[in-house]
Chain length 128, copies 2
């Protein structure tokens, strides 16, 4: 194993756009809530404030999750993977994590026929 894999030094492997993948799960239920990206500043702010920050690739700007919706994510623990190009944020969510109003962004499953099928009801009540 390399030092990056076994060592205690944080050395994120930023991609060409300066990003790593961020996987967000509910710290209580373990449910996968969302996937987003972090640049160095988003990681710094996440660690400094305890609130999840990301880099929005579509808007090209730093983003504190919930800054407009109020649905913030309080970070309980951050883990990193073997080659340090993905972060796992275990969080306590103040509300639905998805901008659609769903509790999780992953509210559809693929069927054997290759279509998408809704899991539960999608709505503002976070039923999904």
């Amino acid at each position: 194993m390399t030092d990056v894999e076994s060592g205690s030094a944080l050395a994120p492997k930023w991609d060409a756009a300066g990003l790593v993948t961020g996987v967000v799960t509910d710290a209580s239920s373990g449910e996968l809530l969302m996937v987003a990206h972090l640049n160095e500043e988003a990681l710094r702010l996440t660690l400094a404030t305890g609130e999840a920050h990301f880099w929005s690739r579509s808007r090209g700007s730093l983003w504190r999750k919930g800054e407009t919706s109020g649905n913030t994510l309080r970070v309980v623990e951050v883990r990193i993977d073997c080659d340090q190009d993905a972060l796992w944020l275990r969080v306590a969510a103040a509300g639905p994590a998805c901008h659609t109003g769903a509790r999780s962004c992953f509210y559809r499953r693929l069927t054997p026929g290759g279509e998408l099928e809704m899991i539960g009801e999608l709505g503002e009540d976070g039923a999904v």
Copy 2:
């Protein structure tokens, strides 16, 4: 909401490299095992065979997880996120998911001091 977000048509939003993010969790325990990437062919083969396939960005080649190690991932369910640029693979793992021998690639947490701390022991026995 857009059709991509609410519809039943599978329309992955491939990035500039033709990839979407794949988040892999243990279907029983819910544990996050690994993060990898899928191109269109990897997704097709994953759905057709029920075994997780990825695109290796470092090797630049298609990859059936476990093809050399034997540590395959049988896919129990595939979900997709709101904007269809991330897949969630819920799997039954035949062995450690990480090439280091750890059960999960996420065997280190970030400490308040900004260092990495091992969770459990890292070893071939998949203790982590």
